[in-house]
Each structure stands twice: as C-alpha cells, then as structure tokens.
Symmetry: C2
Subunit: 234 residues, 2 copies
C-alpha cells in the first residue's frame, strides 16, 4: 500500500507507541498526538530510537489530527469522550480507527465498563458523525509491538460500517509482520472485541504471558470476505 499519514490521538501510551513503531517501520508517516507537546516529542523520539529512518513527529492532539489522513485513537477510556468531542472539528470526515477498550481494574480483577453508546468505537461514531469510524487493534500486545524483531502471530479483527475505511484499516493492519486482518462485521460488533480484551488480560495475568488472538478455520489463501468482491487487500 502507499504510505499513509497516521495521526495518533493519545499516542504516548504503550499501545499507541507500539503501533506507531510498527507503522513507522513499515514506511508510514506517524504523528504522535498528546495534550502535551513535550510528551508528544518525547514519544516521537522513542519511535525514532527504534526506527532510525522513521518519519515521525510529536504534536498537540489537534495539530496531529489535522496533519493525519487516518486518525488512530489510543487514549485511556477515561479521556475518550472529552478528547473526541474537542477534536471533532479537526477530525471532520477522516477515517478514525478506535483502539480503545473500556476496562476497569478493581481488586485484582479486570472488568468491562458499560458505555451508553454500546462501545468505545460506537461512542466515537456518535461524537464524530462525519467520520468513518472503524474498531481494530485491541488485541495486539503493546510490549510485543515494541519488539520490532518479534514477528507477531496474531489476527486483527476489524469492525465498521464504512467498507472503504474498513478495507484501508485492514490493509494497514497487514503491514505489521505476521498480522492477518479479518472483517469482523459491523461497528456494533466492536463491543465484543473491546470486552474480549478483558479475557486476554486475565490470561496474561494467570499465565504471565503476552497473549494475542488467532482465528482458526479461515484459509489464508482465498480467505477474502464473501460478498461484493471485498477480498482482503494484500
């Protein structure tokens, strides 16, 4: 695929940083957004330290979003609503990839938080009615993403109601070595993806592991979706 300009809203946390490293390594331009320009630039320097040839910059969230073609949302859920509300004018009709899992950690257990709109991604779509919101990347372990020499063995299930945005996100996901992207249906399915993160984090704790997901039973070759010639772009 041709290089994309990817803006990360809240890109200084581990998940945003890990994805930024992988996409920078694949030749995409990355703009790390933060509420603090200093922390954005520190995060950009971390990407540069991992990927010497990275095209990477750190900016205020709003400037990052304006400079990006695809916006990846990697904020903590606590800041999800207010952050996206404030950025709505800057985001406009862009593709928004929501990576957020609304989870709470209490008494050694992890649980999913109820979201009035159904899911974090559905909340994003409600706040950004012009944008093409897609849900993806919830199940990639941040630590594994940071280890560039590690080939991931993982499927990224992508949900969304905008076919073109979904296909572009699936193509982007497959830029990460070892990742296969799968069409997981409409945005309404995003809740099941987000909440399943709680199971993976429970397994990580029980087994001291860094888990990811593989869907078995779908042939890699000819594994494109069934209708409308939407073969997975590779």
């Amino acid at each position: 695929m041709s290089p994309e300009r990817l803006a990360f809203v809240g890109g200084t946390g581990p998940e945003g940083l890990g994805l930024a490293v992988r996409f920078a390594a694949a030749g995409h331009a990355v703009i790390i957004g933060s509420r603090s320009p200093e922390r954005a630039q520190e995060a950009a320097a971390k990407v540069k330290a991992k990927v010497a040839r990275a095209q990477v910059d750190g900016r205020l969230n709003e400037e990052a979003v304006e400079a990006g073609e695809i916006v990846l949302v990697t904020v903590p859920f606590a800041g999800h609503r207010d952050t996206l509300k404030a950025l709505a004018p800057a985001i406009g009709g862009k593709i928004v990839v929501d990576v957020v899992s609304p989870l709470a950690f209490e008494g050694g257990q992890i649980r999913a938080l109820a979201v009035p709109e159904g899911s974090a991604a559905q909340q994003a779509q409600a706040l950004l009615p012009q944008a093409a919101v897609v849900a993806a990347f919830h199940h990639l372990d941040a630590g594994s993403l940071m280890q560039l020499e590690e080939r991931l063995e993982a499927d990224v299930v992508v949900c969304g109601d905008h076919p073109q945005a979904k296909l572009r996100t699936m193509a982007l996901a497959e830029q990460i070595a070892g990742v296969r992207a799968l069409d997981g249906g409409p945005l309404a399915n995003s809740r099941y993806l987000e909440e399943f993160t709680a199971v993976l984090l429970s397994l990580n704790k029980n087994y001291r592991a860094h888990t990811a997901l593989r869907i078995v039973g779908i042939a890699r070759a000819g594994g494109g979706p069934r209708r409308g010639g939407k073969a997975a772009p590779r």
Copy 2:
C-alpha cells in the same frame, strides 16, 4: 482422567450433540437430556452411530441430570432460565458447565442479548446457588465437533469461581483431540466469552468458515496458571 458421567441438558441441538460425540469417543458416559424422551433417544442413537462403543443414553432432562456427575447446559438461551429453574432440585450441588451464548439473529446480523445477571453462566449460578457453575466450550464449532476424524485446533477458555470445578472442566476439555484448555478467570468474565461468539459467527458468515479460537503467546509446555500450583491437569 477417569471416566465421567456427563449429562447434557438440551443435548439434542448441534452443540450438545457435537460435544457428546467427542466425549463419548473419549470414553466418558453420556446421557443426552431433552424435554422429549423420544428426541433424547434419537440423539443418543446419532452419538452411537458416530461412536460404536459409546456409553450413551437418552432421557428426560431431569433424569439425565440425576444420572450425571457433571451437567452440561446446551439449551437455546430462550429456554435457559426456565429450564434451569425447573432442574435446580435435581442439579443440587453438581458441577454445571454452561455452554450457552445469548445471541439474537436479526436482519442478517448477530447481536448479544443483555442478561440481567450479566451472562448466561452468571444466570445459571444465580438460579443454582448450590452448584459449581463454570462457563466453557462456547467457541467450538458444532459441525467440526461432529467430524470425529477432524482434529480441532482450538483453545477452550474456561471461566468460573469454583477452582476444582474449573480444573475438572479444563481436564474434560482437553479430552477433545487438539483442544487446549485455558483458565480465563472468574465467572464474571463469562460474558466476554459468550458475546465473542457473535464475532466468530460473523466471521463464519463473512468467510464461509467454521472458525475457532487460538490464544497465542502462552507456551504449551509449563503453561499452567500462576498461582496456588494449579497447573493445568493433563
């Protein structure tokens, strides 16, 4: 493991029948329960046709439950509450493995149904306070289970609050060739398992596939849970 006597509540549907075939093939005694003794016996005959040496019988749900040591619940969700309420005295303090995913199919889409207790398995535990309820087996494809010659490549994530019941269910799951059982934490996590079934069914539809789940990142050897020496029994 030593042979168990497994009672299936609502064992005439595809998921119950598929599990019954696999466990009968592994040498366990299987009692298929139904509201209709005729349909129970027809289902038992189907198991026998697949596994000539099967120890299998078909009975009324209540009689099946009384005869079983472990009760597997494979009813449609529409009948889940009333069936378990009626069977509570017969089930008593037994191990109950809830396999039910509360899903609705509407307009070509699949969605998870809200359950007041949180999940089908949590509903079972509320209705059966003496029993040790475990949630498992949601993600095994019924068609694949019926093909005895097919080695499954799947993980069964098991959730529950009763450690011994969970371990016994994990050992049972690993009687199915190719299945690895994983401790997915407390029963409260069962909702995320049940709802994720909607994603697998969406993928089945999009890719004309029979999907199952693999968790990557957990070493098969020495992959036992972390605490209290609860190594997965094999």
